[in-house]
């Protein structure tokens, strides 16, 4: 005799029941944890912006150490003086929630021919002004993004890179200090003031990155596609900020 669990009606019933049970369980967990997860993401954004402009707890040559999550709100309001949103022909407005702008959505908007909103965070630390811009691009497996702090000549003052799912030990190393710190002091413009970006190069024969005006940093071995993604997102996204800096100088 056929077992009950082999019957078609039982299989269907079981499948339906399982989908309902597992589906509602996951939906319940996801929606009850959502506020907490979003809060964590918000804090992380503030930590990243502060990190790019040099507000962090790094020690020596060690690993990345952000400002503690409990202190981040205070430090953020202390160091970040202004948050701007730039649209179209330098239409600049202040917006204290500009750091929450979703760069991915803005990039999709720009592709659809709409105007893209560009957030820019102006920070001050030890009498120096930092202009921090968020950028986003594609790595090997998934999204990569960064916060780049520049001075008024578009010379990089600090950067924080992050990724969704790059390969551990290879592409994932873009968020390690040995890679990110190389960007400090690099120019985004060439010597004639034309935007050139910074290329992650496998052949710049400058592994210790002593030459700062070559628009190149040393690549990570085994992370070619991720490195190319970093170069590409710097070129495409930071270029959009150049008019702002030109305007800054003429005024």
């Amino acid at each position: 005799m056929e077992k009950r669990t082999d019957k078609n009606w039982y299989t269907l019933l079981f499948a339906t029941g399982m989908v309902i049970v597992v589906g509602s369980l996951l939906a319940f967990i996801a929606s009850s944890l959502k506020p907490k997860i979003n809060e964590n993401k918000r804090i992380e954004k503030q930590q990243n912006i502060l990190y790019a402009m040099g507000v962090h707890e790094n020690e020596g040559k060690g690993s990345v150490a952000f400002v503690e999550a409990s202190k981040v709100a205070d430090e953020f309001s202390k160091y970040v003086k202004k948050q701007l949103v730039i649209t179209g022909d330098l239409d600049i407005v202040e917006d204290n929630d500009a750091y929450l702008i979703d760069i991915k959505k803005e990039q999709t908007k720009a592709k659809a021919g709409e105007k893209r909103r560009l957030p820019l965070f102006i920070g001050e630390k030890d009498g120096k002004t930092y202009y921090v811009a968020p950028i986003r691009g594609k790595g090997l497996w998934d999204a990569i993004w960064a916060y780049v702090a520049m001075d008024e000549n578009m010379i990089v003052q600090g950067a924080y890179f992050d990724h969704q799912a790059e390969t551990a030990g290879l592409g994932a190393n873009i968020k390690q200090r040995f890679f990110m710190d190389d960007f400090i002091g690099e120019q985004l413009l060439d010597d004639n003031g034309i935007f050139k970006g910074i290329t992650v190069s496998k052949s710049n024969s400058d592994p210790t990155n002593k030459i700062k005006n070559d628009n190149e940093v040393d690549a990570i071995a085994g992370a070619t596609i991720t490195g190319d993604g970093v170069s590409a997102m710097i070129k495409s996204d930071l270029r959009l900020y150049q008019p702002y800096f030109e305007n800054l100088k003429t005024n």
């Binding site: 669990t5 082999d6 039982y10 299989t11 079981f14 499948a15 399982m18 597992v22 369980l25 996951l26 967990i29 996801a30 944890l33 907490k36 997860i37 964590n40 804090i43 992380e44 690993s63 497996w141 990724h163 969704q164 799912a165 790059e166 390969t167 551990a168 030990g169 290879l170 994932a172 592994p207 210790t208 071995a221 085994g222």
Partner: protein
């Protein structure tokens, strides 16, 4: 062992040596290639798999008599996927920095064939407690190999262990590098993980000739 009967304790100890999931059962090779370029990633993956494997085996074992055999693979997949999503969400909410570290690995657990393999081979035919022990045992055996492979790949490929430069600084030429030693970039690439696993298999069969199949 006082806590476990000798039959039960074999469920834990066998996968660590003579019935290792990677080197003997040849399961879970894909993740062993993907994530062992760093020791830390290996350890983290091992811990995550121990959790999912233990819990998954128990769940499957508890519902083993009511699973329709025609769709049992789909049921198993659903159980793993649900567990993995729960782990992912809870980590994101309560330990955000850790979840950033784990990132891609959590999703990778779903595709780990050890988990499906043990569901099929053990949990579907055994009680919850024994399935739990089997799950933990196999995950430990898997983790052990992962950590061995990760140790050699990070040491020889990057000259570091857990991120600490144990061999000196390759750029400033200190430590071992001052006498002409170079990191082997090959070790960071996935194929070298296969070769390291192959060497482990060789050593294991050399030490215990019973394992050699003709």
């Amino acid at each position: 062992m006082g806590l476990l009967s000798s039959k039960d304790s074999k469920l834990i100890s066998d996968p660590l040596s003579d019935d290792n999931p990677i080197t003997i059962q040849v399961l879970g090779i894909c993740s062993a290639l993907a994530i062992t370029a760093e020791l830390k990633a290996s350890i983290v993956m091992a811990i995550s798999v121990i959790f999912v494997m233990g819990a998954g085996n128990v769940v499957i074992s508890l519902i083993r008599n009511i699973i329709p055999s025609k769709i049992r693979i789909i049921v198993q997949l659903t159980v793993v996927a649900a567990l993995v999503i729960i782990v992912d969400q809870v980590l994101k909410a309560y330990s955000y920095s850790l979840s950033k570290e784990l990132g891609a690995f959590i999703g990778l657990i779903i595709t780990n064939c050890i988990i499906m393999g043990r569901f099929e081979a053990f949990a579907l035919a055994n009680g919850a407690w024994r399935s739990f022990l089997d799950g933990i045992g196999n995950a430990l055996g898997y983790g052990l190999i992962l950590i061995i492979v990760g140790f050699f790949r990070e040491l020889l490929g990057s000259g570091t262990l857990l991120g600490f430069p144990v061999l000196g600084d390759p750029i400033e030429k200190t430590g071992l590098y001052s006498i002409g030693y170079e990191n082997n970039g090959f070790m960071l690439l996935a194929p070298m993980a296969l070769i390291v696993v192959g060497l482990i298999i060789w050593v294991q069969r050399y030490r215990n000739t019973d394992l050699i199949e003709d």
